[in-house]
Amino acid sequence: MVSAGIDIGSRSIKLVIISNGKVTKNISETTFDPLSVCKSLVKDFSYDKITATGYGRHLFKEHFECEVVSEIKAFALGAKAVNRACRTILDIGGQDIKAISLDQDGNMLKFEMNDRCAAGTGRFLEIMALALGCGIRDFGNLALTADRAAKLNSMCTVFAESEVISLLSKGAPRNEVALGIHRSIIGRVKSMLQRVAIRDDLVFAGGVSLNSCMVRLIEEDACAKVFVPDDPQLIGAMGAAINNLDKKSADELTGEIKYERE
């Protein structure tokens, strides 16, 4: 069976196709018209079944014949597929932070998720990077060059941005401010992880796991072995695709997922 999963996130839309254990992928920006982006993403592929997840999942279901799963379940399925030993998942995407714990068989146990505030998410980091005049891809590396962190107090994106500007104008080195920004969100992430109980291996997924400084700080602060899969922002879409498979086919894929390299 050719199985597809689509994850309609706040910042990007991800499509994963699993066919005979091989994975193909496609990513596009969400834009102001997510439905059109979804349509153009799926039109180049044929599949037998598709499952939608992400904040736009219900919108997708209104227009396509599909199953719908929450992002939390999708990440649980996807993380298990890339790391058999996974018991804890941290997903930081554009506007969500999720911490999920799994039992030995990969069933979801507890989960935590931000509800009223998107501080510490991908979008927060994007805005802070912009304030520092740094590309989002280099932001983590810049922070890692600092020996000490500037102190940031605000979790509100708008106030934090003014704090950054005020620190820079006082002459604080750019990399120390960058490290300070990363440090400021770790506390929040850690408390969510602790509420679901941290166990090895911790799979860190979502776009923010591409940030080297975040990975390092979570390893240090959460004292867990952190595993970042290839293409970590695709784990939700992957989980959605796995959701279409029967248990046997899904089990066969467990820990075995490898991407076709472009």
Binding site: S70, I72, K73, K110, F111, N114
Partner: protein, 426 residues
């Protein structure tokens, strides 16, 4: 509304424009949330009618009762003994406070981080949209949580009919004595404003009316244990909400009628959701009309709510008053006994609440518990961790949701609720 009540509303001093706006929102929400449900019991038509006339016919009834010399008493809490109000020939109405209305006005008097329920009490009063609060001869506050205690001090400056009842905080002998004394004072207050004395006959009659109302709700609760569930959680919540302001005898009759209908459904093994539908128990803060936010999200996600451990639900309606005693002091003692059992989170410690939750999970065959808190409701938020840990230790999945009356967090809550349903439905 079938009739034009504008004159009545004007005479009550309502802000007609704001009121019309409120009814418009309410009517649309009711259509989308309740009437859109499939396979509703026929008996819900009565409750639909009551809801459609909530600011109309029911208010007219209250005003007619007043013309006959009966008093109308507004309450905010299940600790106010309706039996005593009925004994003096009064009408008891629970004031709803379940909508985000007039919050900007309310925040002139209250801190922003006050729970939505208290803000709503002020919002309705200040926004001049609640015909109930305008009709009452007595408005009963009760010293339950700190938020309410202090809010009543302020409300007293805005409403001249406010009467505040003190509340114990511990289930000790002293606590019980305090409640008994407060009920005695409340009896005297009621007698003074109604100019009617409580005697053994009218007290027994009051007790019997309220007991019958509770028995009817108990019957409904038992029927919800069936799988498939014969009635949606939304409709059952609505019945529990209407409990607070409908005529008690007519209400009892309507609940018993719907129970007759549900009994037939249960016997035929039919219901509102398929047999395998995940079953959820709600526990926590009260959901006052028109606060339908969480049940709507849960049931739209294809799970069914099978019980409410809540003041608007079984915490408020469980236990009857023993009416076999033959003197007023003995009956007052029995009333105290019944109300003192309410396991509200203002009590410390409050172990019977946890026992009740575990019982309800078992009795209604719930697959998981959604612990619902209003933000800034300290007593229930503090207990939510205790409840969650105890449930998870007993292998009962639990989800904690802290929210308010706004729709701001609806998308995030929907994701969490859907994930919880995925968790419990394997």
């Amino acid at each position: 509304m079938s009739e034009n009540y504008n004159q009545m509303w004007t005479e009550l001093g309502l802000d007609l424009k704001a009121h019309e706006q409120l009814l418009g929102i309410l009517g649309q929400a009711y259509q989308d949330i309740f009437l859109a449900q499939k396979n509703r019991p026929e008996g819900m038509k009565y409750f639909d009618f009551v809801m459609s006339e909530v600011h109309g016919l029911r208010i007219k009834e209250l005003l007619d009762a007043k013309k006959q010399g009966r008093i109308v008493v507004g309450t905010f809490c299940t600790f106010v003994p309706e039996e005593l109000i009925l004994a003096v020939g009064g009408v008891c109405v629970g004031l709803c406070a379940g909508a985000e209305f007039g919050f900007a006005e309310a925040e002139k008097y209250l801190p922003r981080n006050t729970c939505a329920l208290i803000k709503s009490i002020f919002g309705f009063k200040l926004g001049k949209v609640c015909p109930y609060i305008k009709s009452v001869d007595l408005l009963v506050g009760e010293n339950t949580c700190d938020g309410k205690k202090k809010a009543y001090e302020i409300l007293g400056t805005l409403h001249d009919k406010l009467y505040v009842m003190d509340m114990p905080q511990m289930k000790s002998d002293d606590g019980r004595s305090l409640l008994k004394v407060e009920y005695k004072k409340f009896q005297q207050k009621l007698e003074a404003i109604s100019k009617r004395k409580i005697n053994i006959e009218n007290l027994k009659q009051g007790i019997s009316i309220v007991n019958n109302k509770r028995k009817a709700v108990h019957r409904l609760n038992k029927l919800r244990a069936a799988n498939p569930a014969p009635i949606s959680g939304l409709d059952a919540l609505l019945i529990n909400q209407v409990y607070f302001y409908d005529d008690p005898i007519r209400y009892t009759d309507a609940v018993n009628k719907i129970c007759d209908e549900l009994e037939v459904r249960v016997a035929k093994n039919t219901g509102v959701f398929p047999v395998k539908t995940p079953r959820i128990l709600i526990s926590g803060c009260p959901m006052a009309v028109p606060n339908w936010k969480i049940p709507m999200i849960v049931e739209n996600a294809q799970a069914v709510i099978v019980g409410e451990e809540s003041c608007v639900g079984e915490r408020g309606t469980q236990n009857l008053v023993d009416d076999s005693k033959a003197s007023i002091p003995e009956l007052m003692e029995e009333i105290t006994t019944r109300y003192f059992k309410i396991d509200c989170a203002i009590f410390t410690p409050n172990p019977t609440r946890l026992d009740h939750i575990l019982h309800m999970v078992k009795d209604y065959k719930a697959d998981g518990v959604l612990h619902y808190c209003l933000q800034f409701c300290q007593p229930y938020q503090m207990e939510s961790g205790i409840v969650e840990n105890a449930l998870e230790d007993a292998n009962i999945p639990a989800l904690r949701i802290d929210t308010d009356y706004s729709q701001e967090d609806a998308g995030q809550i929907r994701t969490r609720v859907e994930a919880f349903i995925e968790r419990i439905s394997r």
